[in-house]
Amino acid sequence: MSDWKKICTLEEIPRLGARVVKSLGGDIAIFRTSEDEVFALHDKCPHKGGPLSQGIVHGKRVTCPMHGWNIQFDNGEAVAPDVGHCSKFEVRLENGDVYLAV
């Protein structure tokens, strides 16, 4: 069973933006959509490792700042015609606090 850890409040992530959590397995990007949903992906683009947290968030996806791939939050897949997968982490929102499964 994974452990839920509090990482920040929703307010601390900009709407349509992201924050980064340092972790042993590599940085994790926490995204917030315009509808105030939160998603977490490995902060590493499947293309050439660009930091996804630094990209522009729109809808349920982020555009990588390096070469413009789009990665989907719900499954970590690159939007076609690009092909690639980015690992996804469980996050949950409770009373305005963001929890990450570690």
Binding site: E12, L16, K22, V102
Partner: protein, 815 residues
Amino acid sequence: MSKPKLVMVGNGMAGVRTLEELFKIAPEMYDVTIFGAEPHPNYNRILLSPVLAGEMQVQDIILNDHDWYRENKINLHLGKKVVKIDRVRREVISEDGSVEPYDRLLLATGSTPFMLPIPGNDLPGVIGYRDIADTDAMIDAAKTHKHAVVIGGGLLGLEAANGLKLRGMDVTVVHIGPWLLERQLDEVAGRMLQKSLEDRGLKFLLEKHTEALIGGESGRVAAIRFKDGMQIPADLVVMAAGIRPNYALAESAGIYCNRGIVVNDTMQTYDPKIYSVGECVSHRGIAYGLVAPLFEQAKVCANHLANYGIGRYTGSVTSTKLKVTGIDLFSAGDYMGGKGTEEIVLNDPAGGVYKKLVIKDNKLVGGVLYGDTADGPWYFQLLKDGKDIHEIRDHLLFGQSTVGDVGHQGQSKAAAMSDDAEVCGCNGVTKGTIVQAIKAKGLFTLDEVKKHTKAASSCGSCSGLCEQILASTLGGAYQATASDKKPMCGCTDHSHEDVRRVIREKKLTSVPDVISFMEWKTPDGCDKCRPALNYYLISTWPHLVKDDPQSRFINERAHANIQKDGTFSVVPRMWGGLTTPNELRAIADAAEKYKVPTVKVTGGQRIDLLGVKKDDLPKMWADLSAAGMVSGHAYGKSIRTVKTCVGAEHCRFGTQKSMDLGVKLEKMLFGMWSPHKVKLAVSGCPRNCAEAGIKDIGVIGVDSGYEIYVAGNGGIKTEVAEFLCKVGSDEEVMEVSGAFLQLYREEAWYLDRTCHYVQRVGLEYIKSKIVEDAEGRKALYNRLLDSLKGIKDPWAERVEGELKREFEMLAVQPV
């Protein structure tokens, strides 16, 4: 509730494209049923010519396979012709008697080959050239028969003739006109084309009137006889003497037709429930026979089917290419010229090159290129944009590469490039890969090529080349849209021009307001439109609109340039390229303290600290700030540098104090955001050591004052700055420069450098606003100064407070 029913008759290129456009904007709106008379899913009819020539196979040209129909839940009837439309009961009836009710009907029945009304036109072995069945019939005939006659020396006829010849037949083209392709070419080009086709073994009979086709013993056609009595053997006759819009079905249902199904600008027929697109349509009296205009119709039609109600189709200018491998031919617009027009002609029969451009009122209105068509798309764009060519007239005929282009945009000729030649230097994409993708994936636009191959998706300098490749692979199917009508991005159909206007007129003040007011198709826009919207908002309503960091590319959000490894670079401002021992010491200290791996002098006369970790940025900035240094904005669509030479302060030739003026200009413009980056230079004399000739604004000191040049660019495509005016004092330089930049800030489209903007509006326009209109100039200048009032150093702002959060990492907290 059940969905409204959309029935489409005709499963061809225009109709299916309409559905694709519809699914993009309103995917779940209708229950869709399609009737197609052919037994195939939608294929690329254009590529029947390469199939006949043996260069491609039928399976290569399928555009939408059966999976596509299934995924979109389309009820597909193949091999079923619709024979009746009952408009009262709103039903269509197909030949097998099945009845399908509709709420909206889309007629996309295309056209049929015109069969000459002569005796023998129904003999076996006499066919048109329209579909896969015709192509197969030709391929079979070539295996067993010898003599082919093609009636009609137009594009279709020549492509058929070329294919049959390649398949080993003895081919004669019979043409009624005085030269080949008389609807696309003038006589000189027509004769050159005939010569090179004759060199390939084709025979031609011009100005010949066919009288009858004569059957042989087997019942199959055996000969063709002309009015002058001449007779030649023919065991395959291909009629390519024109097409007739296929409107019999519509007409029989009482829908108004006049040499085509008559539609209005929203692609509606006289029955508002019935829409029509494609070759069957007559729009403002014109029936088009090339796919590019049909695709424009498809887009507008989809928009109305989706009840968006904004698009209008107002007609198209078309261009054509002959798809015979090894022969380059391009024509567009009014190529014949005539009263009120002028012509520029290059005729080199020995070199096999002929070019003719037709000009009217300083605008390109048509052209014919033979032998060297690399510049076709460029001319076509100039033509569609209605651009004033007065200033480039001297070079126009010699092509895009001679009007200031040293990049790899025009100088390589797409058609002549080998398949392994690299087209996109940024992403390492070869010509072969692009051609392959265009054919295999059915790509039609530059955007699609960008998405699928990545070519032209980085610096964009090869977009011209990619457009050439598209044009040469697709033939006339490729069509550039007029730049001022191009949608901003896939999220909207509105152009940059529209968006800027609406923001101003409707006083929109936030990105979400624009997105909802202008009915974006996506909830929050994308990485292309949001930065543009943010810029348009802050430049239209300075001090009123709040900047939106999440709509900025990371470099502008973090006020530093992201590196390939995710670290950042820091470039402190050195006003006019000047620095002090104190500043250099602070830079050296910072470099040591934050373990900066690389320190480099930039091309913009200052120092770059490369490889800084994001969370170190605010600390480093605080240190630099303490030494009086501010951001160099090396990362922004903003003022970058004002490059200076030493000038009259030290140089023996200096006529003006260039360092001093450079620093004043840079201080005036500090913190200015703009559609793209802005660079200035001031040189103290015409030796021009600060390279003012390739800057957005270049100032050159002369004994009596300053010469001001604008719209230069030293980047992807070098552009030499153009002379704007001469002034006497520093204050005047500041006013002219400020006014010019403000005009650019207010009118240019996002990501246009000053050179692109000035090319679009013309230097004469700039002069009328900046040089001739003193009051207007002052007003512009004051608006610039007003919007820059109170600008703070973005670094200092981020050292403390709310904005610092961008640079802080989160940690897992104990619960």
